[in-house]
């Protein structure tokens, strides 16, 4: 049988100061890890939650984002009545031409961010079925009215119903607020697409088209038709695929977060190592005694490794608790790919909690390894002489 765990736990508690200093360091690293990962998870899900499973996005061939896409009216007309597109109760095809443009919006403090103003038709609310008005009403065409995503409300100036926003060449009246179930549309302003075309003075064109597939429709056939029909000649993909590509930003953040966590983790490993070396040194005669009583070198190694592990995992739990209030915290983030700002919520997922605990355990094992090996290699007689 192994050396009992209470020996390790109580020894840690006895060395209160060094234990809490090391635990504090590890807890901090784990907290930073959790916060960064929660941000990445929140960002990633805000991007991918924007898509709807049975929706497709149509872009100019070769375009990777809406920003770099353009579609002419005759191309749109050629695909408008394709049979794979779902019809609404009134019989109208559920296809939404869209023109997102970047505008500068002011924060109450005076700072400015790039925000997407999306020119749409009223059908957009039917196609994007995760977008719902939660206050006010839909804009009326041609009146420079807008509806505002709830992620912007209060965060930017003049975003409440009844306010007048100024962007582009015009003044725009806020008439409604909408929710997009956490998706990135929540960080957008939606306006009448013809008003937006007029305001930008770039003529009558669209950037992209969203459409809803009819139940059971063959999406591959639709993709081929849109690509191969010379009157259309565009590229279609599911919104799921499109937003998955967009979340490379989140993945890059993730890699960055990992690198920071690893560098900080190495620091914490040295702290743990230092603490455990001190523990081995202070308890040399105890180690000698345990060995003399018949505990094997392996049992001593295991005992000190476990002690380091207990320290690190306990610290990890504290770190997670420290970081937990970030869950649901909402913030904005500049999307490098579309150069626009989007709001999202930090999300501390179960997977992040598990990863954080594993991360803490790894720090404990690395920090404890050399000291534990030193403890194992102590010569019994030499250790006992240090009474």
């Amino acid at each position: 049988m192994a050396i009992p765990l209470k020996y390790n736990v109580r020894s840690l508690l006895v060395r209160r100061v060094s234990t809490s200093m090391t635990a504090g360091g590890i807890a901090l690293v784990v907290a930073v890890f959790v916060i960064v990962m929660a941000m990445v998870a929140g960002l990633g899900s805000a991007i991918s939650d924007t898509g709807v499973p049975d929706n497709m996005i149509v872009l100019r061939k070769g375009a990777t984002t809406e920003t770099y896409s353009s579609i002419q009216l005759d191309q749109f007309d050629a695909m408008k009545f394709l049979p794979q597109i779902k019809r609404d109760t009134a019989g109208a095809p559920m296809i939404s031409p869209e023109l997102p443009v970047q505008v500068l919006m002011e924060r109450p403090g005076g700072a400015q961010d790039n925000i997407v103003v999306r020119g749409v038709l009223p059908i957009a609310l039917e196609v994007h079925d995760n977008v719902h008005l939660i206050a006010g009403r839909m804009f009326r065409p041609a009146l420079n009215e807008v509806i505002v995503g709830k992620g912007l409300v209060g965060r930017y100036s003049n975003t409440h119903i009844g306010d007048t926003m100024h962007f582009g060449r015009g003044a725009w009246k806020v008439v409604g607020i909408f929710d997009a179930k956490g998706g990135s549309f929540e960080s957008e302003v939606w306006a009448d697409i013809h008003n937006v075309q007029d305001d930008t003075q770039r003529g009558a064109y669209y950037a992209d088209v969203r459409l809803k597939l009819a139940p059971g429709a063959d999406s591959d056939a639709l993709v081929h038709r849109i690509a191969d029909d010379p009157r259309i000649n565009l590229q279609a993909e599911t919104e799921a695929e499109y937003y998955k590509q967009q979340s490379v930003v989140a993945n890059q953040m993730r890699v960055l977060g990992m690198i920071v966590a690893i560098i900080m983790g190495i620091g914490a490993i040295f702290a743990a190592m230092n603490t455990m070396y001190a523990a081995v040194s202070a308890r040399t005669s105890e180690i000698g005694t345990l060995r003399a009583l018949g505990f094997s070198p392996g049992a001593v190694l295991g005992s000190f490794l476990i002690e380091s592990l207990i320290l690190a995992v306990a610290a990890g739990i504290i770190g997670i608790i420290i970081a937990m209030p970030i869950n649901g915290f909402s913030t904005t983030f500049g999307n490098f790919l579309t150069f626009s700002t989007m709001a999202f919520n930090f999300r501390v997922t179960f997977a992040i909690v598990v990863e954080a605990l594993i991360f803490a355990a790894v720090m404990g094992l690395f920090g404890g390894w050399l000291p534990a090996r030193q403890a194992m290699r102590l010569h019994v007689v030499e250790a006992l002489r240090r009474s």
């Binding site: 020996y7 020894s11 005694t289 009583l293």
Partner: protein
């Protein structure tokens, strides 16, 4: 090798190497301790007493010569096997008690039992019995710092006897105690020897110890310079002859 010897040490040399200096801590020592004796190894400081005891306890290796304990030769054993052998056959008592400070008296005594296949209930019984023998049944939940030196040493003796070892080795068990506590410890070791018929090998330079033991082995500068009968006090002698 002869079964009737609890300890059989033949021509043992132990040399410590420190840089280019060599210390001959034991120089051709031959000692035979018959079963169920209480013996003392005496001699001035630095004469090799601890070194000899460590060889008997299987926590150190002889440079040359042969060490057999309980009829088993331990000279060539590997460390892993030796650790298991110690757990089964040796009860250790140290000058500074060497209790684990973060464990209670009960838990300290239980430690060596964790290396046996005993169940938790059986361990509890053994520990309680051992603590009763040393007269500390009422201090089971005390931590070492809550005990006096004499009490700590009694807990250490309980820990040494709880596994029912073949032989108990004690290195200056009274060295750090006042006269009264020292007397108690010597009486306890005597009882262990007389009542439970354990072999007890004790290193000491306490002249009072001679009144308690059967035999005294005298070491000087690593050499065995004398083997004498102990000066057993009348009460002990009577107990011894009664058996």
């Amino acid at each position: 090798m002869d079964e009737k010897y609890a300890v059989d040490i033949e021509h043992v040399v132990r040399i410590y190497k420190r840089d280019e200096f060599e210390v001959r801590a034991l120089d051709d020592v031959t000692i035979r301790v018959p079963q169920a004796r209480f013996v003392a190894i005496m001699g001035p400081s630095g004469s090799g007493k601890t070194t000899l005891l460590n060889l008997i306890a299987g926590i150190d290796h002889a440079t040359s010569g042969k060490v057999s304990v309980g009829g088993e030769e331990i000279t060539g054993m590997k460390e892993r096997d030796l650790a298991a052998w110690r757990a089964r056959h040796i009860g250790l008592v140290f000058q500074f008690y060497n209790l684990i400070p973060v464990l209670t008296a009960f838990e300290n005594v239980e430690l060596p039992l964790l290396l046996t296949p005993l169940t938790k209930t059986e361990r509890r019984e053994h520990v309680e019995t051992a603590l009763r023998i040393v007269g500390l049944a009422d201090r089971m939940d005390h931590y070492p710092r809550q005990l006096s030196g004499g009490q700590e040493q009694r807990v250490a003796i309980a820990r040494a006897l709880v596994t029912d070892p073949t032989i108990v080795v004690a290195d200056e068990p009274t060295g750090d105690l006042d006269a009264k506590s020292a007397e108690e410890i010597l009486n306890l070791l005597t009882e262990l020897n007389r009542q439970f018929r354990r072999t007890v090998v004790m290193v000491t330079h306490d002249p009072r110890a001679e009144r308690f033991v059967d035999t005294v082995y005298r070491l000087d500068k690593g050499v065995l310079v004398g083997v004498e009968a102990g000066k057993i006090a009348p009460a002990h002698a009577a107990a011894a002859t009664a058996q």
